[in-house]
Symmetry: C2
Subunit: 135 residues, 2 copies
Amino acid sequence: MSAEAGVARAAPYPAAVDPKIEALVNEVIGRVADKWTMIVLDVLAEHGELRFTRLAELSGGISQKMLTQTVRQMERDGLVIRTVHPVIPPKVEYRLTDLGFSLGEAFCGVWLWAADNLERIEASRQAFDQRARDV
Amino acid sequence: MSAEAGVARAAPYPAAVDPKIEALVNEVIGRVADKWTMIVLDVLAEHGELRFTRLAELSGGISQKMLTQTVRQMERDGLVIRTVHPVIPPKVEYRLTDLGFSLGEAFCGVWLWAADNLERIEASRQAFDQRARDV
DNA sequence: CCGTATCCCTGGCGATACTG
DNA sequence: CAGTATCGCCAGGGATACGG
């Protein structure tokens, strides 16, 4: 990195992170920032333990396939606990682990940011599109 | 929602959000949580203002097409400023807006979470895969 | 140097049908 | 009810070539 004299705006970041760690972090974020993962995380955080079908309903338009896939990955990553009740008809319940909850809290900041800045973003888009038309 | 008596684990969330707002927030998050957007955001936060080619180098393996696309979207959303210097050869510089920086800060929590929990996730995955093999 | 335009192909995802 | 298996579409994104 050396002595960079003329950087226009100093970043509020340490800037020096092990690139290997960075790659791993990106991988984890990439996985975790998935659309359905976030929605399922949110639903489980709000509703506590849920059965498969109920979870699907509350997750708004997710297909069975994607729900299974998402929830399996989350289980593998230690974000949810999957409890199978050996009864007929089958009953399977899902709930967040502490790790899952902690991720939810971490994402809370992004959530709030999005909610706070919706209008600003919308305005920016309109201005941009307007400028594009002017050309 | 009515009176749900037996929820196993009360969520630390307000639980009552306007679903329309929620949809919008999801849309914004979906856009913003995109892999390349996050990487570019990170690179610009760390390095300040950058030219196109340099930005591509630092963003590790992004194609020209995706960089252009990503950066355009970010400009449209008001996350970056694009400055064209009318010289030959062309020179275009990108830097974050305040909104862009604030998004970076919001994501910081997720970043830290990922960094903190890498090992735990890795361990969880191995345990899961082991269990799968045992079956 | 900084893009836009075009081709092409992989794989993500929905829909459907079937099992324990 | 809670999955797995299979098919088929088409959009995302890489590679390449060209333009200002």
